[in-house]
Amino acid sequence: MTENPHGIALSEEKLMSVAYGEGMLSESEREHLKQCALCQQQLTLYKQTNRLLSAKLYRFLCPSGVELNYYCLGMVSDESRIRIASHILDCPSCADEVVEIRQLQANFDAFPVTPYAVPKAIRRLFAEHVIQHAQPVIRNNAPKKGWPRQYQAESIGLSLHLSRTSNGEMMLLGIITTSNTKATVSAFEGSKVDLYYAPGPLAVDRQDAETAVPLLSTEVDGGGNLILEPVPTGSFVMLVRLPEQEVVIEELTVDQE
């Protein structure tokens, strides 16, 4: 790293660790990075190169998922078998997939009786945060931070309020409504509501697997009300599992204020 006017430059290793989002910079190092154009330039170079290389090279020589599945069944040509086997020896990603595939194939049931007993598929709807006109909306006001919040997913409305219990803990109160004239909220009674730490169960990254378990769960009552408590601060995803659809509420941030 070359000399610069903002004190000792960060080492290349440190900058690379920041490029991967793994770095733990001290307060003074963070301050240095803010001020130092040379370090910033080097960091940009690392990030950009990492991104371009990953975009071009990620799994680009791996056998396709379908091919790998046929390989695990032992139903590929001899030539393919040898090629794939030698690739797996050198590729941890494919080796991991092979373990998963073999496990799935070992437990294969051609005629499963479970989950797909329900003939009607459940639709998943992503609720939109609606800015209520009654609230004063000013420029650059971040509406996702204020309470109460109104969400809409087709005919389903959900009003969320943040309140405190008698012992000072935070709780989320929700009221579900429907604009469908042929439906009543009583039909939602008993529907499960789960609150997950973001990114929640829809995330695919295995490192996020722990957020796939609900932090809090409750049920909707006959009046369409729900209560979740105690709610810690953090970012959450809420899943409201109604009889014919699941409503997903993303970017639900709860802070102390």
């Binding site: 290349e12 290793e13 440190k14 900058l15 690379m16 660790s17 991967y20 793994e22 330039q41 940009t44 170079l45 690392y46 950009q48 190169t49 990492n50 991104r51 371009l52 290389l53 990953s54 975009a55 071009k56 090279l57 990620y58 799994r59 680009f60 020589l61 791996c62 396709s64 998922g65 379908v66 091919e67 790998l68 599945n69 046929y70 695990c72 069944l73 139903m75 040509s77 050198d90 590729c91 941890p92 990603s93 997939e97 595939i101 799935l104 194939q105 294969f108 051609a110 005629f111 499963p112 009786v113 479970t114 989950p115 797909y116 598929a121 998943r124 829809l202 695919v204 990254d205 490192q207």
Partner: protein, 227 residues
């Protein structure tokens, strides 16, 4: 039944197959020969009607596998159940035609069909992980590589490998870029290969420097713009 199975009318065969499938779904003993005959006619005799019947009879199985699959939540966010069923049969058709399979058991045929669906989901998960790690560049982004990439994937990889200094750099490049692993995870996964995570960062700095020094040869990979 007097008539040999290969002489049965397809409509009769479809009825018999459906009845046996009901038994199978109720976990009762069943005769799989009618179902297998439909597979045989569709695959080996290229009988289009038999192929249509096959999809009708086994579409329910594919739908059940979709919904019992651990990735179904994510998969159904991207495409509809109908499209996955159609894709599964289409990929299955291509594969069995190439290989000229004659399935000896119904379980064997359905395992292959299931492997096709699972492969489609495996590819989808790969694409998901990739797009998560590597956001697509803006259309007019100056970072977008300008030159044409070599057509042969192996040539691409060999060009990069030839620019790297030693086995260590090649290994780190493979794990970081080809496998998409992060440095801390690499250390966790291969503790015997690296002293600490700093070593991986350091080797990667060398890789980046080396590739950037050869950016003229790698314009298709690194683009034209200097940082």
């Amino acid at each position: 039944m007097d008539e040999p199975i290969n002489r049965l009318k397809l409509s009769r065969l479809a009825d018999l197959c459906s009845s046996e499938l009901v038994r199978r779904r109720q976990k009762e003993p069943a005769d799989d020969s009618f179902c297998l005959e439909i597979f045989r006619r569709a695959i080996l005799e290229h009988d289009e009607q038999a192929w249509f019947v096959l999809q009708k009879c086994f579409g329910e199985n594919v739908r059940a596998w979709i919904h019992s699959h651990s990735s179904s939540d994510i998969a159904l966010l991207h495409d509809s159940e109908e499209n996955y069923v159609a894709q599964t049969f289409s990929r299955f058709w291509i594969a069995v035609h190439e290989q000229h399979f004659e399935f000896k058991t119904l379980n064997g045929a359905l395992s292959y069909l299931h492997a096709t669906l699972n492969g489609i989901f495996t590819d989808l998960m790969r694409a998901q992980l990739r797009s998560r790690e590597v956001p697509l560049p803006d259309q007019d982004s100056p970072e977008e590589p300008a030159a044409e990439q070599p057509e042969d994937d192996l040539e691409v990889w060999n060009t990069i490998l030839s620019l790297l200094n030693d086995e260590r750099e090649r290994r780190v490049a493979q794990l970081l870029y080809f496998n998409g692993l992060k440095p801390k995870y690499i250390l966790e996964r291969f503790p015997q290969e690296f002293t600490d995570v700093k070593e991986i960062y350091r080797v990667n700095c060398n890789i980046v420097d080396r590739l950037q020094r050869n950016r003229e040869r790698l314009r298709w990979l690194l683009g034209d713009e200097e940082v």
